[in-house]
Symmetry: C2
Subunit: 155 residues, 2 copies
DNA sequence: GTCGATGCAAACGTTTTGCACACTG
DNA sequence: CAGTGTGCAAAACGTTTGCATCGAC
């Protein structure tokens, strides 16, 4: 495990470089922290928190600071690469903007289910028709009780 | 303006007393702070924040502390009297549990629209059918862009 | 060399908690 | 008088910011 600044292949180099190209085009610079955060985002499970991403990055680059993660997450969100969502309480979750979908979050056990667009189509249509409101289906969570907790009658 | 513990009539005494009955039944005690918070909840616009409710209560009882408000809001939520929602960032909003409805929150200007149940019926049904997930329609916010901001093309 | 990005520490806004005292029932 | 509720101060939590330095281009 060499401490080289160029990390081992992870199978996402291509996508990472594509985003870095965007960053460069904006006058941004390609730094180690930025590249590694991107890799963490592609590797990590969806819905990673800033803290989790920081930990993942720090495995290879222990000096990358949490505030750098936040700053880069902001930047990537401005570029439209990622999106963040607030699930009930606790920290926000970040995930890639591709494959838009909403989330069903269990208030009791905290599990989150990725909900296909289809679930929201009616809501999206009605909100537009009745209120002129454009729903951002990638950026919200529907709260309730998952099958397990509902069955157990847990509060 | 007498500093009497019994406040002036507000037109909600009946509902307030009803809830206080619940509190008593649970072994809880009826305090000034508790009664006044309840009145604030019935009088206030829906979606009041803890801070706003504290301010409202403090008009009559300046010594009621914000932490007392939070503790009582928790209690009332446990009793099922109120519900809270997180609209994007910022503080949570509290409102009475009666008249269930979701919210459309504009990411750009922050305006919140009360959405009738009807908008969510399809979502509720599908979530139940496909995932066994019971949506809590009183406790969530759908994020997006309101008509005005969408038209203005504001980000 | 320029200017954007970083590490660090410190501030921020919201909410929670520990404690001694006050009040309800 | 028992035990719940309160005021207060301080901590906790996730996130943002100011600043001096570092590093990409």
């Amino acid at each position: 495990m060499t401490p080289s600044p160029t990390p081992e292949p992870t199978g996402h180099e291509h996508q990472v470089e594509e985003v870095l190209e965007l960053v460069r085009a904006r006058g941004g610079r390609v730094t180690t922290a930025r590249r590694q955060l991107l890799e963490a985002l592609f590797e990590a499970p969806p819905h990673a928190t800033a803290e989790e991403l920081a930990t993942a990055v720090q495995v290879r680059s222990p000096d990358v600071h949490l505030s750098t993660i936040y700053r880069n997450l902001d930047e990537l969100e401005r570029l439209g690469v990622i999106v963040h969502t607030h699930f009930g309480h606790g920290p926000a979750s970040y995930h890639l903007a591709s494959s838009p979908h909403g989330h069903l979050v269990c208030e009791t056990c905290g599990v989150t289910i990725e909900a296909p667009e289809a679930l929201f189509s009616e809501l999206t249509t009605l909100a537009k028709e009745r209120f002129g409101f454009v729903v951002d289906s990638r950026h919200f969570a529907v709260v309730g009780r998952c099958a397990t907790c509902a069955a157990a009658g847990r509060e």
